[in-house]
Structure formats: structure tokens, C-alpha cells
């Protein structure tokens, strides 16, 4: 009797373990994307400050900002809409400023705010820093 009970418990533990393992693997494999809108920015600064940090020492700035959620404020110099309907806002300088890319889904959900922006307006974007080419690139941006 006690032996049977023991095995029954063992069986349940085993089944339970398998269910948890499958759920964990499934979750990790289909891990949701980072939701930048819900993250708090690790750094909040002026676009000019970010540009000067990268110009001063790119390696140091890359180590500090890469993949971090950053919130930048600056003057819009150029606005472009790409083929895939995402929008790019260049802050402070079109070539060597901060380029904030807003994905198409976020363009739709923030349309009223974004359509109000023109060259010359001062805007604040929160996004993930992917480093510097000529400009500093922030991706998955949302306006704040």
C-alpha cells in the first residue's frame, strides 16, 4: 500500500516536471521581444550630449550605450519614411546626428504625435542604441 502510494506520488512529480520543462522551453523559444515603450530608460540625455560622447571615444561610448534603452531629446533635422513604413527622425544633424527609427507598428500607434513633428521641432524619443556608423542609431523607438 505505501509502496503504491510512493510510486503514485513519484509519477505525479514526473508528469509535473515534464509539463514545467516543456512550458519553459516553449517560453524561451518564443520569448517576447523587448517592449521599449514599457522599459524605463537607462540613460536620459540631450542628443547633443550623446553625439559628443560618441565623437570623443567611440569604443567607450559603444560599451556604455550599446543595447541600452536611451531617451534622447533634440531638434529634428530630417524625417523619412522607409519602404517598410517605419519612420526615421534625425536629431541635430542629418548625417552625423542621432537617427531614431520608429517601427511601422509603433508609427501606427503613435500617429497623432508623430504627424505633429516637422523639421525644427524638438522631440524626445526612447529607443535601443545599436551603435554609431556616421550617425548614432536608436532602433525600436517610441516618441515620449
Amino acid at each position: 500500500m505505501t509502496k503504491r502510494k510512493f510510486f503514485r506520488i513519484l509519477l505525479w512529480v514526473f508528469v509535473f516536471g515534464i509539463v514545467i520543462a516543456v512550458a519553459a522551453v516553449y517560453y524561451v523559444f518564443n520569448k517576447p521581444r523587448r517592449n521599449i515603450a514599457r522599459e524605463t530608460a537607462a540613460y536620459a540625455l540631450e542628443a547633443k550630449q550623446l553625439i559628443s560622447d560618441f565623437k570623443k571615444d567611440e569604443t567607450v561610448a559603444t560599451a556604455k550605450y550599446l543595447d541600452q534603452t536611451i531617451s534622447v531629446t533634440g531638434e529634428i533635422k530630417n524625417i523619412r519614411t522607409l519602404d517598410n513604413h517605419s519612420m526615421v527622425f534625425s536629431l541635430e544633424d542629418q548625417m552625423e546626428g542621432v537617427s531614431c527609427t520608429v517601427d511601422s507598428a509603433d508609427v501606427v500607434s503613435n500617429l497623432s504625435k508623430l504627424s505633429g513633428y516637422t523639421a525644427g521641432s524638438v522631440a524626445k524619443f526612447k529607443g535601443r542604441c545599436s551603435g554609431m556608423l556616421m550617425d548614432i542609431q536608436l532602433i525600436n523607438c517610441v516618441p515620449e
Partner: protein, 182 residues
């Protein structure tokens, strides 16, 4: 002496800018495909920066590896952390010269060979790439396709996932250039 050099450098830059011989875009598209029957691995970036100098027939192309988007967030993480090691090598770059004859005044599409160096993951390889170019006064359209292997660039693929990732990765590039004025 230094001032003279600086002056010469600046005047060269201004001279070049005035001549309107450079075209650029910051929104070039790069995608790559390393799918196998076991797994679809497709990634795309719209944030490549590229220049063409039509006097020197030179092309430069660069992209940040973290700007590639995959279907799954997990793939993006593996790509950046395990394979490309993006924090260490954040950029991929190609710089080369068009070695086939090209007439920038015609507006007909031509296929050319571009010979240059591709650098990624800290490894530089010499390559000759075929590209389609359609010259124009207000815009230049270019596209290209190349095949590489992860091994060429010292990117180790663990044997557990080796069968899920194609041996050869196909990279496609599409760019529409505009005149560069500064």
C-alpha cells in the same frame, strides 16, 4: 606645416563636395537568409549607410549588426551575443572599387564586378561581388547578392544547431542613393 596640411585636407573636402560626385543613403536594405528545412532564419536591416563615389568608382557600405531584425527575439539574441559578438564587433563593413566599365551618364542598368574587402566579426576577407547598378542624375539604384560562410569570418556554429543553419548564407543588398550635399 600642420596647418597647411589641414588647409589642404579641408579644401579637398570642399572641392569634392562641390563636384557632386558622391551619392549616399542611410536607409539601405540588407537581408540575409540562412534557412534550412529545419528552421527559417531570415533577418533584415534597413539601416545600412552607403556611399558611391562616381569619380573614383568607389563603394563603401556599413551596417550595425544589432540593427538586424529576426522573426524570433531569441534568434536576435543568439545572433548578437553568440555568433556576431556585437558588443565586441558592432559593425560590418564593405569597401571596394567597381572594376568593370561603367558609364555614369547612361541611365541603363548594368551588371558590374566590385572588388573589395568585407569586414565582420573582426575578420577581413577580400571578395569580388557582382552588383546591378542603374546610374542616374538624381538617384542611383544598386542591388547585389553574395554568399558567405560563417567559417570564413571565424563565426563558430555549435554542432547542436549546425543542421539548423545553412552552410552558406545568402546576403541581399538594395540601395537607392541620392546626391550627397554637405
Amino acid at each position: 606645416m600642420n596647418k597647411l596640411l589641414l588647409f589642404l585636407a579641408f579644401s579637398l573636402i570642399f572641392f569634392n563636395a562641390g563636384a557632386q560626385n558622391r551619392f549616399f543613403t542611410k536607409d539601405a536594405k540588407i537581408n540575409f537568409n540562412s534557412s534550412t528545412p529545419l528552421e527559417d532564419i531570415i533577418a533584415e536591416s534597413n539601416q545600412a549607410t552607403t556611399f558611391i563615389d562616381i569619380d573614383k568608382n568607389e563603394v563603401v557600405f556599413s551596417v550595425l549588426t544589432t540593427s538586424f531584425k529576426f522573426r524570433r527575439a531569441l534568434m536576435e539574441e543568439h545572433f548578437n551575443e553568440n555568433y556576431m559578438e556585437s558588443p565586441k564587433f558592432p559593425k560590418a563593413k564593405f569597401s571596394g572599387k567597381i572594376i568593370s566599365p561603367i558609364d555614369w551618364k547612361s541611365e541603363k542598368q548594368v551588371v558590374v564586378d566590385v572588388k573589395g574587402e568585407l569586414t565582420m566579426h573582426g575578420v577581413t576577407k577580400e571578395m569580388t561581388i557582382k552588383a546591378q547598378i542603374t546610374p542616374g542624375k538624381v538617384k542611383i539604384i544598386a542591388s547585389s547578392e553574395l554568399k558567405i560562410t560563417p567559417e570564413m569570418f571565424n563565426i563558430p556554429i555549435p554542432s547542436a544547431v549546425r543542421d539548423k543553419i545553412a552552410k552558406e548564407v545568402t546576403i541581399k543588398i538594395d540601395a537607392v542613393y541620392a546626391p550627397y550635399q554637405q
